[in-house]
């Protein structure tokens, strides 16, 4: 509790106001913390898949909280019950709150009905990260995929969410695509709601 005044220290969470969420965090501080998170997990796993899963879990805990907080703060206590609405909630409201901007694009998968993609030219968590060759297709965006999964799962839209690098022509850095594949039950319910 360094730097916390005595009076604040004695206040329980339930007695403190929720806050407007307008404050921003320094990018270097975040990059440092995130790099520590990746390194911490890296020492505790045997393979890349496990590392991605751990980052995803860390993101999931963030996502489930963001959903509850943002619906209260930004949406005036309305829930999202439709698929497209929850996706645009993730694409704009969640992204804006986490990264200060809306995501670059939100598209529907061309091959499968149940797939959607959120793409970002330069994902914030990947800004200072370059993946060594021996780590293959590992993408630290797994953390953000976890956040998206947390939001969707919380809202009642269970989905498999993964992060991938996609090379862009004429760009030295690939963009990151968050691929969302909804469970069958979600699409069935969506069809029923009409």
């Amino acid at each position: 509790m360094i730097g916390v005044g005595r009076s604040k220290q004695n206040l329980n969470v339930v007695d403190r106001p929720l806050g407007k969420g307008k404050t921003e965090v320094s990018l270097s501080a975040f990059a440092f913390l995130f790099s520590e998170l990746v390194q911490y997990n890296q020492t505790r796993v045997d393979n890349i898949a496990e590392l991605e899963r751990r980052l995803e879990d860390a993101g999931y805990a963030v996502g489930i909280r963001m959903l509850e907080l943002l619906c209260h703060r930004e949406k005036g206590n309305r829930r999202e019950t439709r698929l497209l609405n929850i996706l645009s909630f993730v694409h704009s409201t969640v992204w804006k709150s986490l990264f200060g901007k809306v995501a670059d694009s939100l598209e529907k998968g061309t091959e499968h009905e149940d797939e959607y993609m959120i793409s970002e030219k330069e994902l914030l968590v990947n800004r200072y990260i370059s993946v060594p060759k021996d780590m293959g297709a590992f993408n630290c965006g797994a953390f953000v995929a976890g956040v998206v999964k947390g939001v969707l799962d919380g809202a009642g839209f269970p989905a498999r969410v993964t992060a991938h690098f996609v090379a862009v022509e004429g760009q030295p850095r690939p963009r990151t695509t968050i691929l969302i594949k909804f469970s069958e039950e979600v699409l069935q319910r969506e069809a029923r709601l009409g």
């Binding site: 007695d15 805990a61 509850e68 206590n77 829930r79 709601l193």
Partner: protein, 136 residues
């Protein structure tokens, strides 16, 4: 007049994470079980109603004799705030739910609280009871 009121927060897998008897009626042993039973039975109805509206407050969803069940579903559709009561006071209940929801968000934002686990904080309990006295 003595009133009955039983407040429960139900989380994922219909697991209760917080319970309190907030009514003024003298406690009876078998009543607590009966309250749980009625609330549990109304979970099915909640599941159907929850997708028909995007309001969080679902109002009255069920009744059992003179006991009524009001429900509030948070943004995380797995978390349901349920109140069993015997007096009709919609505005009071709505305000009660909204304030408890805010308290719940504060609890949830605590990184040491695992979502879906029991809320054991005595501060939370005290605040809920204060709100119940104020609104119900």
């Amino acid at each position: 007049m003595a009133s009955t009121a039983c407040f429960v927060i139900v989380s994922r897998n219909d697991c209760p994470i917080y319970e309190s008897e907030v009514g003024t009626a003298p406690k009876k042993d078998e009543a607590a079980h009966l309250h749980q039973f009625i609330l549990h039975a109304s979970l099915d109805i909640v599941q159907d109603v929850v997708w028909t509206t995007n309001a969080m407050y679902l109002k009255l969803v069920d009744k059992f004799n003179d006991l009524l069940v009001s429900v509030y579903v948070t943004a995380d559709t797995h978390t349901r705030l349920m109140l069993l009561h015997d007096s009709r006071n919609e505005d009071g209940i709505k305000n009660f739910f909204q304030e408890v929801h805010e308290l719940y968000i504060k609890m949830l934002l605590n990184p040491l609280y695992v979502p879906g686990s029991r809320i054991t904080s005595p501060f939370f309990d005290t605040r809920v009871r204060t709100l119940a006295r104020k609104y119900l």
